[in-house]
Symmetry: C2
């Protein structure tokens, strides 16, 4: 069967395919102010599921949610030198409020380390107040010159964690715990993206951090996407804001800190990691709608059966949507659910009624089969888990097949030009080699240990650099 | 037993009691930019529970969550004349972005009717796209000259619903449904505030609405707090943004709209409706922590028992926190949980171990009793429901006892001066009487039917005006 493509094929024009998919699957629109976005209900449903899965993991790691103001006095930003240098070019500044020029302009938060430290310095009195583990779900603004929906937007939604600890070791361990138990766990086991977990080179670190841990995913065009970062801040912000605690020994000590964040950029990663030429493919564990039950025709018996099947699937613990919009042609609705990447489609028409059957269409495994309606509730959970595994496996195989082990910067550039990643000893590449790659628009995404572990230092023996073009 | 009061007594200075409670229960701090606030974990926990209870009800009413940008082009605001007039004095304006002066300044959303309509006008094509039912959880900014934490803040968190319908009747019914099934249901059955549900007079309507439904709660000082509003917007925004649909008859018709919102102001209402001189009292159905299990001493056996009891209560479906901070004096921790208004406190000390007992302290019903630990899981759910009912009943009795039926504006002012509300026939008061009250800082909070129903028109026979001083 040939049909006109619904989307620009990925092989033809990947960026256009990405934009097509976002439009046609009704995930998001560009906002009226340059670089902003409107997240439509289906796209927001993906974010809600992301939030809910992440929030459970964040709370399990002991952090509590709170909320800090959107507006930060400009003077706060300047207290940590590297931090202000990193963010100054991207700030949005409010100069008028309540009909008057403000005496001190305020910036719209690009991130909240500064304002959080102002309050940590007030709240933390003694070692008994530590560790202080805070997270917030919020919007942040970084003025974006080359915006792209979900990937680089002037406003985005994220969570940002901020913690204070009594010792360097505790802070280091907590940053690593978030990196591993919250971020990697979510990305691998829910998003089904086989991320590489590593540490950033000094050049690629967060402005104000002493160490940045990262998770990098390979997208469908072979480029890398940074999906989340967890930073050790050392005592940089503590010094700038005099955030101290009274130790057991009675001395006033600076705290050690971490911060960590993931954003709506992950939705962009989901699209580019799992989308195909027919649209999105949502991993079942993430999917806001795991099963859509479609009425092929608007006959009363069909609608009743559709409702019964949906209820049975909901009772089986699945996330289900009924599609009974039978004044829209069936074919168009089927294409729409395929675009949206809903893992399983159960289609029920008049002929299915007497036979007690339905047609089951699977988005990831593919194929179409007639099944007994009474088997669906028992069948689907296993099929969905199978789809989840398929997506992760295919993400892993794809990344492995497109990652070349090379010996020199020149070979790394060749591998990247061929549409993949390269891996080479960091001791061979070094900061000079890194600068040479950067001149070609290629970056060291992260450093990893020879066994895939996260190196405890930049110069740990055997450390490898993973090199790619990145979003 | 006499002890120094933890808070300024309410009778002595209600506003100061309010601020004391917020500080000492660690609910929130003032932010560095005037009028902003930092919501601390326990205060944010109250908001998270509010969101989760509300979100279920909003989704049950058929609305889906989405996200619109924080930044709105200034020109959008001016398209609906009353709307811009209402909000212009409160706007925060971004004039610099990415290091440059912006060509068109952007406002930080004070509410999103304008930007939502810009997109509704694009998304809505035909009658098949209606009703369109959208909600968003977001922060908004209204520059505030006389800020007070939770009640009037320059930035606050809220949900705002925006819907479009084919007919005036459908829009009217949907605004009423949200008012009743989402807002009143949550406020009465979860917040335990016996709100009065009514409609606003034309003078008190939302800027741009043709009808505003409201929920008003009586606070501990006899003043009124508007806890939520649901608006019929008629076709005002549809006209301004040309939001039209193709009807079944093939004509292009303007949609009819609603918008509705509740905010972090509800946390202020919770405090002022249920707080007493010892602190907050949180209704159990809302409480992020329903039961705190305290280790009186840090002995190993006590800590183990505390953990066992907590696990049993969690298994019984309760929201439980363990307090094993035994390096802080027990008395101070008990006062702290009382301040925070956690409904039930289970205290376990060394002497309880052999007897298999615990001391149960109830925040709402009061009293302290020794109970068998094995009975707790069976006992507590019923006691918590009892506390929930007590709070609602006391809210109702308080409001009824402090509401005077009067005949004239002068009598209404007297009743309000005595620290309560007044109720009188709207046909007797009228807009002139309303203006006279307003000159004294007293407003018509809402119009209600003689049977307590929500009037379908300002001039429905028998309509009563509820009059009060308000926050």
């Amino acid at each position: 069967m040939t049909k006109a493509p619904v989307l620009t094929p990925r092989a033809e024009d990947f960026p256009r395919w990405y934009q097509d998919l976002i439009n046609k699957a009704e995930l998001a629109d560009n906002g009226p102010v340059r670089g902003t976005m409107v997240i439509r209900p289906y796209g927001y449903g993906l974010w809600e599921r992301t939030q809910s899965e992440m929030d459970v993991r964040i709370k399990a790691a002991g952090a509590e949610n709170a909320y800090f103001p959107l507006f930060i006095p400009q003077s706060y930003l300047t207290r940590e030198a590297e931090h202000v240098e990193g963010f100054a070019p991207e700030l949005a500044v409010v100069t008028r409020g309540g009909g008057k020029e403000l005496e001190e302009p305020v910036v719209v938060r690009p991130t909240s380390e500064t304002i959080v430290n102002e309050y940590f310095a007030k709240w933390i009195r003694s070692h008994r107040d530590l560790p202080l583990l805070i997270n917030q779900w919020a919007n942040v603004v970084r003025w974006e010159m080359r915006p792209r929906v979900f990937l680089r937007t002037s406003e985005f939604l994220w969570q940002e964690g901020h913690t204070a600890h009594a010792t360097r070791e505790e802070a280091r361990d907590y940053a690593a715990r978030i990196h591993r138990d919250v971020y990697a766990d979510f990305m691998v086991n829910v998003l089904a993206i086989d991320v590489v977990a590593g540490r950033k080179t000094p050049r690629e670190r967060f402005a104000g951090a002493v160490n940045t841990l990262t998770l990098e995913g390979m997208m469908g065009d072979g480029k890398a996407l940074q999906l989340g970062t967890s930073h050790e801040l050392g005592q940089n912000f503590a010094r700038a804001f005099d955030t101290r605690y009274l130790s057991r020994e009675g001395t006033r000590e600076l705290v050690w800190q971490t911060s960590w964040g993931v954003s709506t950029r992950m939705i962009g990663g989901l699209i580019m990691a799992h989308g195909d030429d027919n649209g999105l493919r949502v991993p079942p564990r993430l999917a806001p709608i795991q099963v859509v039950v479609l009425a092929v025709k608007g006959e009363e018996g069909v609608l009743r059966r559709v409702r019964e099947v949906a209820d049975a699937l909901i009772a089986a613990g699945l996330r289900v949507r009924v599609d009974d919009r039978t004044d829209t042609p069936f074919g168009r609705r089927a294409v729409d659910w395929e675009l949206k990447g809903v893992p399983a489609r159960v289609e029920i028409g008049p002929r299915d009624l007497e036979r007690d059957t339905a047609v089951l269409v699977r988005r990831v495994a593919g194929g179409k089969e007639t099944v007994a309606v009474n088997d669906l509730a028992a069948l689907l959970p296993g099929l969905l888990e199978d789809d989840q595994e398929r997506l992760l496996r295919s993400s892993r195989e794809y990344r492995e097949s497109r990652t070349a082990d090379v010996a020199t910067a020149t070979e790394a550039l060749e591998a990247v030009a061929a549409g993949g990643w390269a891996r080479l000893p960091w001791s061979d590449l070094g900061s000079e080699g890194e600068a040479a790659l950067a001149a070609e628009g290629v970056t060291v995404r992260c450093l990893v240990g020879p066994d895939g572990s996260v190196p405890v230092a930049d110069d740990a023996p055997g450390t490898l650099a993973v090199v790619a073009r990145a979003y």
